[in-house]
């Protein structure tokens, strides 16, 4: 009987040892209340076995039969209270364990595991670039970028910044660098400096932006298309205004026709009358006078524009007392040059009190060089660009040319315009 008791004690002791091992292992990752409960159960059973041994040795239990009667009854009585109690404690401990697992049980191992599973790539390095911690996704990206042999070198970040490869395209997205991998996935890479109490680390993250990137490309294209459309609208609106202007002109021409028709009708009526009163005669004469004047002034100034595209400006210049001389080679019908000469004339007369403005153009290879100068008596010492001059510069630059203003001795404009282009 003693053998049975000892073997029981040994069994329970080895069970406790296993429990402790399990508890220690588990404790590394989680709070092991359930392990402790296991240990408690086994300690109780072992105590029971010790008590049984004691009962045997003191002779209170004499035979297997009586042992069964006394010992087992003792065991049943003890366990009858203990088992429900332990079951209850176990249940409560499970609840508490669950609660702690969610809230408190973050430790190095759990972080490491979660970190490893993250979809986005993360790499922590020392301030000098040597690797501290990285995860699976980052390793994959690094291998895709640099190949298996050159992955995660100390100058990882510098390598990324200077990255050049045939297979992987480097782009910029939202101010960060991004890489389009061979499999079509796009990662945006970002670096932040983290400061501990003592040391500095870099956190380099790689975020999968494939969807966002493609969407933004799509959006960009759409915005561009929209921009082109808006530009066209602006142009159309301008044209609409000009067409309307033409219509007005036409209405004035009708007015002349009315006047003419009126005079002819009146003439016919008068010719049928026997006598014509002096008032009627005066009105009729006045009628024709007006028509004569209208036609005369029209023909003087001409409905058609001058033979030279720039003649209109010569006329405008003359009206403000400026003699505009245009010589040399120049684009034949350039709105841009016309605007430039016009502004130059306005400025020369207004600010320098010039009465002669000279425009001289020549061909230099595939472009025109047009020099504009004046005989102004007031020579400005500095020029504030604004209004007309800004418009002039904008128009010239839009046409692919350039404008230089020299004010060392009077204002001297030098305009470069490309040849063989319409502007």
């Amino acid at each position: 009987m003693t053998i049975i008791a000892f073997s029981l004690i040994l069994t329970y002791m080895s069970m406790i040892a296993v429990d402790l091992l399990v508890a220690v292992r588990i404790y590394r990752t989680r709070f092991g209340i359930n392990a402790i409960v296991d240990i408690c159960i086994h300690i109780i059973l072992m105590v029971e076995a010790v008590l049984y041994k004691a009962a045997l040795s003191t002779g209170r239990v004499l035979s297997v039969e009586t042992a069964n009667e006394n010992g087992i009854m003792f065991g049943i009585k003890t366990l009858g209270i203990l088992i429900p109690l332990i079951a209850f404690l176990y249940g409560v401990s499970e609840l508490i364990f669950e609660y702690y697992l969610r809230i408190r049980t973050i430790n190095a191992a759990s972080i490491s595991r979660a970190f490893e599973q993250l979809d986005c790539g993360i790499l922590f390095t020392e301030a000098d670039g040597s690797r501290v911690l990285t995860n699976r996704a980052m390793k994959q990206i690094s291998v895709a970028l640099f190949g298996i042999n050159r992955t995660f070198q100390k100058n990882f970040w510098e390598q990324l910044e200077n990255y050049k490869s045939e297979n992987v395209q480097k782009v910029e997205f939202a101010g960060e660098m991004a890489f389009i991998l061979e499999n079509g996935t796009i990662y945006s890479i970002h670096r932040t400096l983290l400061e501990d109490k003592k040391r500095q680390y870099y956190e380099i993250t790689a975020q999968d932006i494939t969807k966002i990137y493609l969407r933004s490309l799509e959006l960009k294209n759409k915005i561009e298309a929209l921009g082109a459309l808006e530009g066209r609208l602006a142009k159309t609106l301008e044209n609409v205004a000009d067409i309307q202007q033409e219509r007005e002109l036409l209405s004035y021409k009708y007015h002349i026709h009315d006047e003419l028709g009126n005079a002819i009708l009146r003439g016919r009526r008068l010719s049928k009358q026997n006598s014509i009163s002096p008032v009627e005669r005066a009105e009729y004469t006045e009628n024709w006078k007006r028509i004569y004047k209208l036609f005369r002034s029209s023909s003087n100034q001409g409905f058609a524009t001058g033979t030279d595209f720039y003649m209109d400006i010569v006329k405008t210049a003359a009206a403000i007392g400026c003699n505009l001389l245009i010589a040399g080679e120049r684009p034949r019908n350039s709105e841009v040059l016309a605007l430039t000469i016009r502004e130059a004339v306005y400025n020369a007369v207004k600010h320098s009190h010039a009465n002669v403005v000279m425009v001289n153009g020549k061909i230099e290879g595939d472009r025109y060089r047009i020099e504009i100068s004046d005989n102004g008596s007031d020579k400005p010492t500095d020029i504030v660009e604004g209004g007309g001059l800004t418009n002039m510069r904008k128009a010239i630059e839009n046409a692919g040319g350039s404008l230089t203003i020299d004010i060392t001795d009077g204002v001297h404009l030098s305009v470069i315009l490309p040849k063989n282009e319409e502007y």
């Binding site: 205004a241 004035y252 209208l294 002034s297 409905f303 209109d312």
Partner: protein, 207 residues
């Protein structure tokens, strides 16, 4: 004798004005110009008492701006703005520039002479109302001042975002105003609205 400068890019209109001036006893033609920007320079060089200024002149030069410049430098010169464009903002801008009178050069009630006389005798002659224009099913006066501002930017070909920034309102507010105008006019999109506004000269882009 009152010396008159005529600024208008239409030969025919200039001829009509010149005739009125030449036929009169008290006016004499100081000069005619096609470009508004040349007008202030002309006034610097010659004696001018009255300017008849068109708004939309040759090379899209703005007569209202030129008028403002003349008024700034020579407050004594009287100015009559003459336009055939019913643009909603022109009268206000002319008043802002200090122009004495404003005249819609529509044929029929043409009586420029009397406006010139009244202006020279110290009167300020403005039409009582802006001309009413029909934009789709709406009359131009049905648009609120804010809607008109949005419409003006729209006619410059600007997108909602830019309009919002320039008028200090959110993009949604811009959309709200446009939607309101569309429902008033019975149009389905903003392009139709803008083109109609420009074609009817309710708005002249860039002026």
């Amino acid at each position: 004798m009152v010396r008159v400068l005529v600024v208008d890019d239409s030969v025919t209109v200039r001829a009509l004005f010149e005739n009125i001036i030449n036929d009169s006893e008290e006016y004499i033609l100081a000069g005619t110009l096609e470009n508004a920007k040349a007008a202030p320079i002309f006034c610097m060089r010659e004696q001018v008492d009255l300017v008849i200024m068109d708004v939309y002149t040759k090379n899209r030069e703005n007569g209202l701006e030129a008028a403002a410049e003349i008024k700034k430098q020579f407050p004594g010169i009287k100015i009559i703005i003459s336009t055939s464009l019913p643009e909603a903002s022109f009268q206000e801008k002319a008043k802002g520039a200090g122009c004495e009178s404003f005249w819609y050069k529509e044929l029929g009630d043409i009586d420029l002479k009397s406006i010139m006389d009244r202006t020279m005798s110290g009167e300020s002659v403005y039409p009582e109302n802006n001309p009413v224009i029909e934009i789709g099913m709406a009359k131009s006066v049905e648009f609120t001042p804010m809607e008109m501002e949005v419409l003006r930017k729209l006619c410059d070909g600007k997108i909602n975002k830019v309009i919002g920034e320039e008028l200090h309102m959110s993009e949604n507010t811009v959309k709200f105003h446009i939607t309101n105008m569309l429902s008033k006019a019975g149009y389905s999109n903003k392009y139709q609205l803008a083109i109609d506004a420009v074609e009817q000269k309710l708005i002249v882009p860039g002026f």
